[in-house]
């Protein structure tokens, strides 16, 4: 509407000049009003974005994949609200101590450059940049979600006994990264025992590490994921089971759907303070 007014103002202005040779002040006034209105609209948008906890209007890249887990979480929230008429703003996830969390954020790991690519198949370091989490948010929980795809028994001749199917998935926080002379120093955060005959998403608790990364970002050296046999020996599998790195043959959309995902659950206290 403002643009239309401005155009109309200009047109009137030109016409008057054409026929009378006089300059109208009307067009200028409309333009000034329009400028004021644009400012008002911008102020309104900025206050709304502030309400949403955003510094500026997001301009997302065109082809961004939304993680399936986030879509499912949203759907679950909607279902809970419809069925139980919950008035509270907490996001409750089964099996997670999310407490009063009202915000869920997802992060993909920073993919290493080609020359930095890790050769080991049973140990991968994932580094996440979580600097976008606002300081006002109190972290309640964090999990690393890893997808694993079933291994068909006939393709793996080494799988004979029942115990051969059982593996361990471990998440270690990197305290000191690996150097030329020394292996990395890590601490174990969480372990999951898995059966490689099934496909599923595994959740590993990273809460202590993520809390630390937020308070001291310089200590953020990532997380090491170990995929080992129950007896501690390295995996002998020929095919890849855990989706920790991009496959040479795999397409991008499959990788985007199956790549590891760090999910943080936090409590944005800003709105609560304002309410009080």
């Amino acid at each position: 509407q403002e643009t239309a007014l401005l155009v109309a103002g200009n047109t009137n202005n030109n016409r008057r000049e054409d026929y009378t040779g006089e300059t109208s002040e009307k067009g200028t006034t409309i333009r000034e009003n329009s400028g004021q209105r644009t400012k008002d609209i911008q102020a309104l948008e900025s206050s709304l974005l502030k309400m949403f906890g955003l510094g500026s209007r997001p301009r997302p890249r065109k082809k961004l994949e939304i993680p399936q887990y986030m879509l499912e979480l949203y759907q679950k929230q909607m279902q809970i609200r419809d069925s139980e008429e919950i008035m509270g703003g907490d996001i409750n996830v089964r099996g997670k101590f999310t407490g009063s969390a009202n915000t869920v954020r997802s992060f993909h790991h920073l993919e290493p450059k080609v020359h930095e690519a890790q050769s080991s198949t049973d140990k991968v370091t994932l580094i996440f940049n979580i600097s976008s989490v606002p300081e006002e948010e109190i972290l309640k929980a964090a999990e690393l979600r890893i997808y694993r795809e079933q291994i068909l028994q006939h393709l793996e001749p080494s799988l004979k006994r029942k115990r051969d199917f059982r593996y361990k998935l471990e998440a270690h926080e990197v305290i000191k990264p690996q150097t030329k002379n020394r292996d990395s120093i890590t601490r174990l955060l969480d372990t999951k025992i898995i059966d490689i005959r099934n496909s599923s998403w595994e959740s590993l608790d990273l809460t202590p590490a993520v809390v630390k990364w937020r308070t001291t970002p310089r200590k953020s050296h990532g997380v090491e994921v170990h995929f080992i046999r129950l007896d501690g020996r390295p995996s002998e599998l020929k095919s890849s089971h855990v989706r920790l790195r991009r496959s040479i043959n795999g397409d991008d959309s499959t990788w985007q759907a199956q790549r590891p995902l760090l999910v943080t659950y936090s409590d944005d206290t800003r709105s609560k303070r304002t309410k009080r």
Binding site: P58, P60, M70, M87, G89, D90, I91, R105, S106, K275
Partner: protein
């Protein structure tokens, strides 16, 4: 009698305080590129008169009853009680933030569930 009749006529012509439909469409404000879901939401708004005497369904407070009573005696002394949201609920929003990260957030007090005279 005449005054009462005209008052009741006025009361009928003025709509009582209640919830009205208001759909906020994110596409209309050009925010559909960063808000993944929902496409919009039913926000509702409260509008209407708070007449004397206040009915039970108007969800009023003791103070609102007193204010309305004083207004009915001397309208110039005090205004009527206001028709405002008395019950609100949150909405969940799935969106992309400034850093292209996917965020799911519950925002408090976004939907009017009930209106009343306060």
């Amino acid at each position: 009698e005449g005054k009462r009749r005209s008052r009741s006529h006025k009361r009928k012509s003025k709509e009582q305080c209640r919830r009205h439909a208001l759909y906020v469409d994110f596409k209309d404000v050009g925010w559909d590129d960063w808000i993944v879901a929902p496409p919009g939401y039913q926000a509702f708004y409260c509008h209407g008169d708070c007449p004397f005497p206040l009915a039970d369904h108007l969800n009023s407070t003791n103070h609102a009853i007193v204010q309305t009573l004083v207004n009915s005696v001397n309208p110039s002394a005090v205004p009527k009680a206001c028709c405002i949201p008395t019950e609100l609920s949150p909405i969940s929003m799935l969106y992309l933030d400034e850093y292209d990260k996917v965020v799911l957030k519950n925002y408090q007090d976004m939907v009017v569930e009930g209106c009343g005279c306060r």
